[in-house]
């Protein structure tokens, strides 16, 4: 039986974990001091040896990414932390920065030192104003304490950190769109090559890493690669935050070694809500193909989830019980992708627009003959044809749901989802049906 490994989440239950003194009391910034005494190459090697894989979704080995930077040429190079967390179901970076912002700041300092960057940026999703403020404060305190700024701890290493709030677009989490947005342009993904490692922010060598990836670094520096690899599986090493949401008794963030199963996680979370049973779930957020109860024992590591036909993604486990209409869930997700499609490429821009309308029809029992085949074929025309992974992600839930629950889509030809699966039964709170727009208009802002 796997148990929890609270490393990133260790302090979350403490009194005021976000304060510098709390963080320092618990040994904070010791990793930075240790790192500053080592060579940059050793640090990169350490992270390579730890097997840490990017926690932002794609799981690319972090040390290898750092190693891709070309040799220093005297010009600037940048670290950019991706804190745009917007994937439906994903909820780990935001609470992490909320509870323990210094952990990220320390990770940023160590990473910047390791890759030879003197200016790091944290691009944070703009809606989370409170987290943004907390992060700003943490950075200011870190400067004041000499963890950032000039000649950090007498090492001769200088580092500036800029926290930048985005304006709220899922696509700005895609690393190249993020870079364009950070440069003040329209947030749309860039053509690759050149890759960010060669020409990223301001066309300079740049490492883009997820919050959780960077926040994992201080502990690796303190604990060593062997300590890290003692957790997880051979190719998916270490610990990670699993966000459980939906029809579970105790939703929340569970930090555990990679390779844990949903069955184990559910046990910790008190199981599916009382009197209900698991119907389907996403292993890695809404962009990953859905699983069912059949997959309760799939180890949640990159390889096993992949082999079972989905993706570990951001370990965002959205859990739905038997009261939930798959059609409605998929339709909501598709609304999200249609809304968030950046518009750059045809398949995603037009495809999500079309998918959304078909799904709305099916959801309202107004499906037409051939709709299901159409859905699947449109997805086939988007997947792997779109410019970036957003478009691919938009198709995952649809294709997998049609495969697993085709009959529900067929029912959508005649029966509204709200009849088959009355929404109030799935709601965790009192269900208030949406009033018609006309009736609501007068009441809002009253």
């Amino acid at each position: 039986m796997t148990s929890l490994t609270p490393i990133l989440t260790r302090s979350w239950g403490d009194e005021t974990p976000w304060k510098l003194e709390s963080y320092e009391k618990a040994g904070g910034y010791e990793g930075l001091k240790k790192a500053l005494g080592q060579s940059q190459a050793d640090l990169v090697q350490l992270v390579k040896d730890s097997g840490l894989r990017g926690r932002g979704g794609a799981g690319f080995p972090t040390g290898m990414k750092w190693g891709f930077l070309p040799a220093p040429d005297g010009g600037p190079r940048y670290l950019v932390v991706n804190a745009d967390e917007s994937e439906p179901g994903t909820c780990k970076d935001i609470p992490l920065m909320m509870a323990d912002p210094h952990l990220l700041v320390e990770g940023v300092a160590i990473t910047s030192y390791a890759i030879g960057s003197h200016h790091a940026f944290i691009y944070i999703r703009g809606e989370v104003v409170h987290v943004y403020r907390r992060l700003l404060k943490a950075v200011a305190d870190a400067y004041a304490a000499g963890h950032l700024g000039k000649n950090i701890h007498g090492s001769g290493f200088d580092l500036d950190v800029t926290v930048h709030a985005g304006a709220g677009a899922y696509i700005c989490g895609e690393e190249t769109a993020l870079l364009d947005s950070l440069e003040g342009r329209r947030g749309q993904p860039r053509l690759k090559p050149p890759f960010p490692a060669v020409a990223g922010l301001y066309a300079r060598p740049t490492v883009v890493n997820n919050v959780e990836s960077i926040a994992s670094v201080p502990a690796i520096v303190r604990g060593g690669a062997d300590w890290f690899t003692s957790m997880g599986t051979e190719r998916s090493t270490g610990h990670g935050i699993f966000s459980l949401s939906g029809h579970v008794t105790r939703p929340g963030q569970y930090e555990a070694p990679l390779g844990i199963t949903l069955r184990e996680l559910l046990e910790m979370a008190g199981g599916i809500r009382e009197g209900h049973e698991l119907k389907f779930w996403t292993p890695g957020g809404s962009s990953t193909p859905i699983f069912t109860a059949e997959h309760l024992d799939v180890p949640l590591d990159y390889e096993s989830v992949g082999a079972a036909g989905s993706m570990l993604g951001t370990r965002a486990l959205q859990i739905f019980d038997e009261t939930t209409s798959v059609v409605r869930a998929v339709s909501r997700w598709t609304d999200f992708y249609a809304h968030e499609s950046c518009g750059k490429c045809t398949p995603c821009r037009e495809g999500t627009y079309w998918l959304k309308q078909i799904l709305h029809r099916l959801e309202h029992g107004k499906g037409e003959a051939g709709d299901i085949e159409k859905l699947v074929d449109i997805c086939d025309n988007i997947l792997g044809r779109a410019f970036c992974a957003l478009g691919d992600g938009a198709t995952s839930s649809i294709t997998s749901a049609v495969q697993l629950f085709r009959e529900e889509f067929e029912a959508g030809m005649t029966q509204p989802a709200s009849e088959l699966f009355p929404p109030e039964r799935s709601a965790l709170f009192d269900y208030t049906p949406r009033r018609s727009a006309g009736a609501a208009a007068g009441a809002v802002h009253a």
Binding site: A169, I171, G184, R186, Q188, L191, A338, H339, E340, S341, C342, G343, K344, C345, T346, P347, R349, E350, G351, T352, Y353, W354, Q357, I358, R361, E368, G370, K374, D377, I378, D380, N381, I382, G384, R385, A386, F387
Partner: protein, 852 residues
């Protein structure tokens, strides 16, 4: 495949070539070639929308997806997991590509994209300008599905949106390929439109809050498109190119919208007449009427772009004041002019010849052929002057000119053939502009320079009073120079200077390929052209003279200057005269030194000359329009060869109508010295100038041999090059700048690309995109004159005044800049002075009202 080389045969391996296989055909292409181009080379067309050979790849539309396989480290060719955009992927050695022709996956991907492109498209081809020549329509037929599966609700937008007076946008037709916005950013540098919103709401536009339904953004950092000084939404001189490259009918021009269908049009390749570039264009006409003009594709000149002026300004050729019949004016006994009346060609030519012969014998006839002629026409004018009229009094420079300039042209331009080219512009490491604003006065020259600066190859410096938007978009460096001080600064550069910025510039000009570009305006800055020759001699930089008009270089080469015979032969050189006399089969050529434009006009006024032959000259373009009018009034006979009635018509005794460019064939000579031959687009009874001149000469008893343009061209070609002495370089002294008393300033001025020129008549939509006329002066000068930024400034001389909104500009004090010939700012006519003159400046009284 039939004739393949035996794969065992070792072939010479060019390290710059990459061998790939596309649909089973092996081909070698240069490194860095995009798959889509490599396929094109071997005749495989991959459908595409966002791809454009002159724009950077974006890979946005996904129409060009193909299957790609590449060798791995062991050399096993491995297919990539998903189809790749062939417009954005470069070939690599051993790559194997399967297009829609050989891959079901690629074909399905393309069909899928095409279907998606059409779901939100209004499918209004029957009423769309682009229908019949639309890449979307064509490729939907060639590479799409026959039917659509889309049964849902289309996205709709209000339409059309007015981007400018000229450019209209239909957002429903737009497929968001970004060609227009990429052109604006990458080529023109005018970001007058951009993408806005996202997803299915993504749209092209000007960030108009009303259109987008946004609350006003206050002083947020994003906001509407840049505005010009007048607060008018910014428009571009190059915007028409976006209409042409839009792969659907989303962008249309107000001028052409709904005028015709492509399949009703007849196309003729032609050459544009509005500037000295001779850009390749295509004239599309229907039943004898020009419907539109498009950019032609000429990689050595204009690539695939043209200015809006070259594109939209063609109605002047068929304006209501077009002259269609010869006109003759009878004079009273005392010489008072009567009314013009229609006459037959025979009568008009007879009257003209008789009067010209009399004037010639009574003192002489001058010839002012104007600056817009073809090679053939210019040559005929020169020959007429020097044979039938027996004079060297000929000057095509219908603008301020000088003897220094004539020497400069005779020395450094005439007979030099093609020297500096467009290609050199984009490769030059350093370019110095003197008396030359590329975007305003040089048309497409600006885009070529920008290509070089954008690629990081070229650095530009400009000697000018202030940095124009054009210079800013060239990332150029201003060497602030008050008008009249050009000679001084150029000489400082030539002799070497300690001033660090000038020293850096001088060094840059020493680099291989460095260029000095001078404009025709330097003719009115004494000593400047002499200094420029010293500078190029001292630094080794190459020199190009880029005038504004298409006929200037032809005039220089064909000998329509007083001191120059064809091919740069000096009139003063006996051998040169013998050369030409022999070719023309005459015993001798006139030897008396000729007069230039101002000299001819002065001699007419003084009645030393008695007659004049004028070819399409606007009096307002001359140094002193008032004096010019008086000079023509004083003439015994004025014979005018014109397309349209003008001020000269009012004074002419005989008007001989000539053909506008679309109604004749001929060859322009662009500033490079490149022959730009064009065919006649429209059937017409109108005659080219050279034919009319031939007839006129015949009536004067001389055979010009100028009846047939082809025969003329042969004659010109047979003259051959002149290997004798050239005209000596000018060594004119600079003139000390005039003192500026309080309340006065030195005038700076040049023409804006879109202005009050008559070539732009009849084009209200184009006129709406012109930059508004403003007066520019420094903050200190404005304050001294008592004018606030945006207030009205009065600029006056003894001759008159101009009032314009003042725009405080970073420029030398005691200088005021006015556009030379814009609405409300006809500098020569109103003020009677040239740049460098001292003018009075005070706060104005009239509030200028802005036209819609």
């Amino acid at each position: 495949m039939t004739t393949t080389t035996d794969s065992q045969t070792p072939v010479a391996v060019d390290p710059n070539l990459v061998t790939v296989t596309i649909d089973g055909i092996e081909t070698a292409v240069p490194k860095g070639t995009l798959i889509i181009r490599a396929a094109e080379e071997i005749g495989i067309a991959i459908p595409r929308f966002c791809d454009h050979p002159l724009l950077k790849p974006v890979g946005a539309c996904r129409q060009c997806l193909v299957d790609v396989a590449m060798p791995d480290r062991e050399g096993n060719v491995r297919p990539m997991p998903k189809p790749q955009p062939s417009c954005a992927m470069e070939v690599s050695p051993g790559m194997v590509v399967h297009t829609q022709k050989t891959s079901a996956v690629a074909a399905k991907a393309q069909h899928g994209v095409m279907e998606l492109l059409l779901i939100n498209h209004p499918l209004d081809c029957p009423t769309c300008d682009k229908g019949g020549e639309c890449p979307l329509q064509n490729q939907a037929l060639s590479d799409g599905r026959a039917t659509s599966r889309f049964t849902d609700v289309k996205r709709t937008f209000a339409k059309p949106l007015k981007i400018s007076t000229q450019i209209l946008l239909d957002r429903e037709r737009c497929i968001l390929c970004q060609r227009c916005t990429r052109f604006s950013k990458e080529i023109a540098g005018d970001q007058f439109i951009d993408l806005q919103k996202r997803g299915a709401s993504q749209q092209i536009g000007r960030f108009d809050e009303d259109v987008l339904g946004f609350a006003p953004l206050g002083d947020a950092t994003v906001g509407p498109a840049a505005e010009d000084e007048s607060g008018r939404a910014f428009a571009s001189y190059w915007s028409g190119n976006t209409v042409q490259i839009c792969p659907v009918g989303a962008l249309t021009s107000a001028a052409y919208r709904f005028r015709s269908r492509p399949f009703d049009l007849v196309s003729t390749e032609a050459v544009a007449e509005h500037d000295a570039n001779g850009s390749a264009i295509r004239i599309d006409h229907r039943r004898g009427t020009v419907m539109r003009r498009l950019a032609g594709d000429d990689p050595v000149v204009n690539e695939e772009w043209i200015s809006d002026k070259d594109r939209f300004a063609f109605h002047w050729q068929t304006a209501p004041d077009r002259l269609t019949h010869p006109l003759v004016r009878d004079r009273a006994e005392d010489g008072t002019r009567g009314e013009l009346r229609t006459a037959s060609w025979a009568e008009a030519l007879e009257v003209a010849a008789t009067a010209l012969a009399a004037a010639r014998d009574a003192g002489g006839v001058g010839v002012l052929p104007g600056g817009r002629l073809t090679i053939e026409d210019a040559y005929a004018y020169g020959k007429l002057a020097r044979t039938a009229l027996g004079t060297n009094d000929i000057d095509h420079r219908a603008r301020p000119a000088s003897a220094e300039e004539e020497s400069f042209l005779g020395h450094a331009v005439a007979g030099h053939g093609i020297d500096v080219t467009f290609g050199d512009l984009e490769k030059a490491p350093a370019v110095l502009l003197v008396g030359f604003e590329p975007e305003e006065e040089g048309g497409i020259v600006f885009l070529r320079l920008r290509k070089g600066t954008q690629a990081g190859r070229t650095r530009v410096w400009s000697l000018a009073p202030f940095a124009t938007r054009g210079l800013e978009r060239l990332d150029g460096t201003l060497v602030p120079t008050a008008p009249g001080l050009e000679s001084e600064v150029v000489d400082a550069l030539a002799t070497g200077t300690d001033e660090p910025s000038l020293a850096a510039l001088r060094e840059a000009l020493g680099a291989q390929g460095a260029l000095v570009l001078v404009g025709e305006r330097l003719a009115s800055v004494p000593g400047s052209l002499s200094a420029v020759l010293r500078l190029t001699a001292a630094t080794g930089a190459r020199l190009a003279w880029i005038p504004r008009r298409i006929g200037e270089r032809a005039g220089v080469e064909m000998g329509t200057l007083p001191g120059l015979l064809p091919g740069g032969r000096p009139v003063s050189d006996a051998a040169a005269r013998v050369d030409i006399a022999a070719a023309w089969d005459v015993t001798e050529l006139p030897t008396a030194p000729g007069r230039d434009t101002d000299g001819i006009l002065a001699a007419l006024a003084a009645r030393e000359l008695r007659g004049v032959v004028v070819g399409g000259v606007e009096l307002g373009d001359l140094t002193d329009p008032v004096a010019a009018r008086a000079a023509l009034e004083a003439a015994d006979v004025v014979v005018s060869l014109e397309v349209r009635a003008s001020e000269v018509t009012d004074l002419a005794d005989v008007v001989l109508p000539v053909a506008p460019p679309a109604e004749k064939s001929g060859s322009y000579l662009n500033w490079e010295g490149r022959v730009r031959a064009f065919r006649q687009a429209l059937e017409s009874h109108a005659l080219p100038d050279h034919r009319v001149l031939d007839e006129l000469a015949r009536h004067l008893g001389t055979d010009l041999g100028a009846r047939d343009g082809n025969v003329l061209r042969k004659e010109i070609d047979q003259l051959g090059a002149w290997d004798g002495e050239r005209v000596a370089a000018p060594a004119t002294e600079a003139v000390a700048p005039a003192a500026v008393a309080p309340g006065t300033a030195v005038l700076a001025s040049w023409h804006l690309q879109l202005d009050a020129g008559r070539g732009q008549d009849g084009e209200p939509f184009l006129a709406g995109t012109a930059r508004k006329a403003v007066a520019r002066l420094s903050a200190a000068t404005a304050e001294a004159a008592g004018v606030a930024d945006g207030g009205v400034l009065r600029v006056s001389t003894g001759a008159g005044r101009i009032e314009l909104p003042a725009v405080v500009t970073d420029m030398p004090d005691h200088v005021v800049w006015l556009p030379t010939n814009s609405p409300g700012s006809a500098v020569r006519a109103a003020l009677g002075v040239l740049p460098g003159a001292v003018v009075q400046i005070t706060a104005g009284t009239v509030t200028t009202t802005e036209e819609a």
